[in-house]
Structure formats: C-alpha cells, structure tokens
C-alpha cells in the first residue's frame, strides 16, 4: 500500500521486456551527426514512404493535369487559335506550369496537418539542421510534380503537341518548373505556420494561386488584355516561368525570362524561406 512496497513489487515483477529495454538503452552508440543534405534527403525518403502508404495522394497529380489539359485545350482551342492542334503547341508548356502550381498548394495543407498531429514536435526537437524537415518535404513533393509533368506531357503528345526542343528541351523546362515550385513551396510552408487550420491555408493559397496562374500568359497572349492586366501579367513571376519553359521546350532562345525566373526563385526562397524558419522556431 505504501509507496515503497509498490516500488519494489514493480521492479521485481518486471517482465523480460524491461531487460531488453535496458539492453537497448545500454547498447546505443552516438553516431556522428549527419549534415544538412543527408537529413534533408532522409526527410525526402519519409515523403516517398508516405506516398507508398497513401498512394491516393497521387490521384490529384494525375487527375488535375489530365482535366486541365483536356478542358482548356478543347474549351479555348477553337476560339483562340482556330484549332486545338495549333492551340496545344502554345498551351501545353503553360498547362504544365498551371498543373504543378495548383498541386504545390497541398504542401501547405500537408504541413499544417503534420503540425497538428505532433510529428513535427519530434522533428523540431532533434539536433539536426532546422530546415531539413521542410526541405525534405519539398523534395518529396518534387516527385509528385514530376509525375504531374510527365502525365501532362504524355497526354499532350497524344493530343498533337510536338515540342521543337525535343526531349532535351522538355527536361530543361521541367527542371525550371521544379525549381520554381520548390521556391513557391516556401510561401505555403510560411502560410501554414502562420494560419491555424488547414482550411484557411487552403483558402489563402487559392487566393494567391488564382491570380498568379490566370493572370499570366498561360492561356492567352497578353497583348489582347487591357493595360492594367498586362502590367500585372508582365511582373507576374509565373509569366516569366511560362515564357522560358515555352521557349526551351520549343527550342528557341528564352532571353531574359530565364534569368528572371531563376532570380524570382532565389528571391522566394530567400524571403519566404527566412520567414518560414522564423515561424518554425515557435511552430504549433
């Protein structure tokens, strides 16, 4: 009944599990701490494991691009370019960008859910390079983006898309899209650390993504737009991305749009990466 009697009884009645636990505790060595790249890749591995266990998350990356490609090709094809065949040459690189940017949004909601569940408490209490959990998550997302890009490209080829830059041009264009979406990912990580629910993260993301994608040169040539909209399209980083992707996939010189895309990406990482890590200190 007293404190002491229960203590001894507990220790005496310890099952063999305790002995094994003691052994496990004793046998542990301290490996040398891994570097930032290693921990980031480990978190990327975690993202891949999650895809393996929850393959449903590949649904959106395959269905979205198919839906967009078909919808916009046949919706605007006739009206804008006379024929769907002509329009798809113009549209497809842009629709790749649109598809991937739409999916980047899930980065934020996924992080919000993770934060609520408490896994990140453990990650944040580990002695590792702080951003690696987020970098790894974005690297894992790059796999999903690659699937989306591939699906769009294959469907495009079926519908008559014939890029002048060939396979090499496609790869460079895809790399640009991946770079930009990795950078944009930091906007969503920041939002999900700022906002309290995944619903609000989704809402605000939509609010950002809609003007970014539709207020760009993805669907139509901006020369037909009113001046104020043209001005917006001109400064919209998505337009630079689309212009350069269109160029490298079409096998022509991307001009200033290529360095502009890279500068924008770097700036997004610098600004929103910093903001994200500032919020991450006290994340909840």
């Amino acid at each position: 009944m007293t404190l002491d009697s229960t203590r001894t009884e507990g220790a005496g009645a310890a099952p063999d599990g305790s002995a094994k636990i003691l052994q496990a505790l004793a046998s542990s060595e301290r490996p040398t701490p891994p570097g930032p790249l290693s921990t980031s890749l480990t978190f990327g591995w975690r993202a891949l494991l999650k895809i393996k266990h929850v393959p449903e998350q590949l649904f959106d990356v395959t269905v979205f691009p198919v839906m967009f490609t078909l919808l916009f090709t046949f919706l605007f094809g006739g009206a804008l370019a006379g024929s769907t065949e002509d329009y798809i040459q113009f549209l497809l690189p842009g629709i790749m960008v649109q598809g991937v940017i739409m999916i980047t949004m899930y980065t934020g909601t996924t992080l919000r859910t993770d934060l609520e569940k408490g896994v990140f408490d453990r990650f944040r209490s580990l002695p590792i390079w702080r951003p690696s959990a987020l970098v790894g998550m974005l690297l894992g997302d790059a796999v999903r983006f690659t699937i989306s890009l591939t699906v769009t490209a294959l469907l495009g080829l079926v519908l008559g898309w014939r890029p002048g830059g060939g396979f090499g041009g496609f790869l460079v264009g895809a790399a640009l899209i991946l770079l930009f979406s990795f950078s944009l990912g930091w906007v969503w990580t920041f939002l999900s650390l700022l906002l309290r629910t995944s619903g609000s993260v989704m809402g605000v993301s939509m609010l950002v993504i809609t003007p970014l994608t539709f207020g760009s040169n993805i669907f139509v040539d901006p020369s037909t737009m009113p001046g104020w909209l043209q001005a917006f399209v001109e400064v919209n980083p998505v337009s630079h991305l689309v212009t350069s992707v269109r160029a490298v996939m079409g096998g022509i010189d991307p001009g200033a749009s290529l360095p502009l895309t890279i500068v924008w990406s770097a700036a997004l990482i610098a600004v929103f990466g910093t903001l994200t890590m500032w919020r991450y200190r006290d994340a909840r």
Partner: protein, 323 residues
C-alpha cells in the same frame, strides 16, 4: 551547480493574454523521475515544450543539463528527447519506418538504423507490429512506439508528457515498467501526469502545478504529510455495534472518532500507527466483527485538492517547500 538536470528561474510563456506558464522556478537534480502534477490547462505541456526547445520562453531563464534553452538550443536537443502528449510519430508510416527515420536523422547508416529499429521493436514488444502503419496501432502500442522513438539514441533527459493518459491498466503498467527501466539505466525522466497514483508510483519528487505556477514541491510522502496524518476507516458488520466500537477506538487511539453518514462506519485521523494495532485487537477482544478496517495515507487527491483550494476541507495553507 551543473548537476541539475533542469533549472529555471521565473519562466514565463504567454499566449495572448493567457499566462500559460507564469513564473516557474525549478531545480531538478539528475537521475530518477520528477513528476509534474496538475489538472488540465495547468501549463505542464507548455513548460515541457519550453524546456525541450519547442517553444521560446517569454520571460525568465531555463537551463537544461546546464545549457540555456534559447542560446544553446542545439546543445540541449542533442541531449534530450521528447515524447509528446499526442503521438509524436508519423502515423502514416510503419513502426519500423518511424524508428529507421529517427535513426537515420541521428546519423545511423541504413543498416545500422535498421538494426537499431529491430532491437527497439523487439525490446518494446512490437516485433510483430513493426510493419504495420502506426495509425493501426492500439493506444498502448502507440505510446510504446513513441517512447521507443525517443530513445533511438539514448537521451540524458527524457520528457514524457502524460504517457499513460487513455491507457488501460495493463498498458499503463507496461509504460511504468519502461520508465523504471530507463531510470535504472541512468536517464533522468520528467513526467507529467494528471494521475496522482502515477506520480506516487513513479516520481521521486513531484511539482504540483496549477494555473502556470508551481504551488507545491516535494516527495509524495512530504506532500501527503502536508495534508495531515493517516486516516483510519472502520466499518462494523452490525450497526448496533457502532457505538461500542467507537468507545473502544476513542480509548485506544486517544483521538476523536467520527461517525460517518454510513450507519456502520467510523473514521479517525491517527498519528501513531502502533495504537491502531492495539485498537484492532481491542475490537477483536470485545467480539465486534468488522466488515472493513483500513489505514491509509491521505491520497494525493486530497493533497491536490487542499493545495488548489478546491473542495477538500483540510485546513492547510501548505507551501510544502522541501528544497
């Protein structure tokens, strides 16, 4: 001075206008289990989160294993581990994958991480469940995988936030055994709980926390002593014997014996245990059959209630400071 596992001075954490941690001073030595006892919303989790470098304090200082939680956060992280109140493992992954993940993050190579995961799964009785997603685990299994994940690399200090809330008695005992095993291997454990008997069973010393403040601190015995002496409960088999039993008890115990609402029951506060034995044999000599005869320490429930000033009417304005 650096033999303290945890040392805080005036620690404060504020959420808006809510002072979740409101000036906590702690000096917890290394080794053994230190209990944080308090009701919902007392600030236990918030305190632990600050100590584990997950939240930044808004005031005061905190040193964990001699390192400042703000300026030497990474040093602290190398030495402590946290098992949060809510599962701090990835529910989508299997138990084995979770342990391998943590192992790799600590720098174990692929094969070593796998070996360590297997070893821990086996030690925690999760060998068979290792390849199942954690979301399909029972509550007890979850707790175990969570604790296992905390000791992939043995920490010097382990924070366990309500490790047994929601567990059945058997799983609870398993977790208690794990905690005892860790303590005997030299790890210091800081454990929060709402269960008084858990603190009683495991903790060497207990800090009672209420509304962001430490309202009492000491061993469980000291805390209990603060409420008063032991309490004796007697139930006679036949209610007509009660009056006689009462007379005998008052004579033998030399204290007031109260008649309870239950017509068979008597109770008394006793100071000397020796007298209780004598009282029992005196009742036996008088041939008064008993249904119940029990002597217990006041429960931590009573302690807690008296400290927080809720129902219990024991007249103690105790500030048990056994430091």
């Amino acid at each position: 001075m650096n033999d303290l596992a945890i040392e805080t001075h005036g620690l404060v954490k504020v959420f808006g206008s809510n002072r979740a941690v409101d000036g906590v001073d702690l000096a917890i030595p290394r080794g053994g289990v230190h209990g944080f006892l308090g009701p919902n919303g007392a600030g236990k989790t918030t305190t632990i989160r600050v100590l584990a470098t997950l939240a930044r304090p808004d005031g005061g200082t905190a040193r964990v294993l001699g390192r400042d939680v703000v300026t030497e956060a990474n040093e602290v992280r190398q030495r402590v581990s946290l098992t949060g109140q809510f599962a701090s493992v990835d529910e989508d992954l299997t138990g084995r994958e979770n342990l391998r993940l943590i192992g790799r993050l600590f720098g174990h190579r692929g094969a070593a991480a796998r070996r360590r995961a297997d070893e821990l799964l086996d030690a925690f009785g999760l060998g068979d469940a290792g390849d199942r997603q954690v979301k399909k685990y029972s509550g007890g299994m979850r707790r175990r995988i969570d604790i296992a994940a905390s000791i992939v690399v043995t920490p010097e200090l382990l924070f366990l936030d309500e490790p047994t809330t929601g567990l059945d008695p058997r799983s609870r005992n398993e977790v208690w055994d794990i905690v005892r095993a860790m303590v005997s291997s030299g790890t210091t454990v800081l454990l929060t709980t709402q269960y008084l008997d858990e603190a009683d069973q495991l903790a060497d010393r207990i800090s009672v926390i209420d509304r962001g403040k430490v309202i009492a601190e000491g061993t469980s015995t000291e805390l209990k002593a603060s409420v008063g002496s032991g309490s004796l409960h007697v139930r006679v088999m036949d209610r007509v014997d009660r009056e006689a039993a009462r007379a005998i008890l008052e004579r033998e115990l030399a204290v007031d014996v109260r008649e309870e609402a239950d017509p068979n029951a008597l109770s008394a506060n006793v100071d000397e245990q020796g007298r209780v034995t004598r009282a029992l044999s005196a009742l036996d000599d008088a041939r008064i059959p008993l249904a119940q005869f029990s002597l217990g320490q006041p429960t931590l429930d009573e302690v807690f209630l008296s400290l927080t000033g809720h129902p219990a009417e024991e007249t103690t304005e105790t500030e048990v400071d056994a430091a």
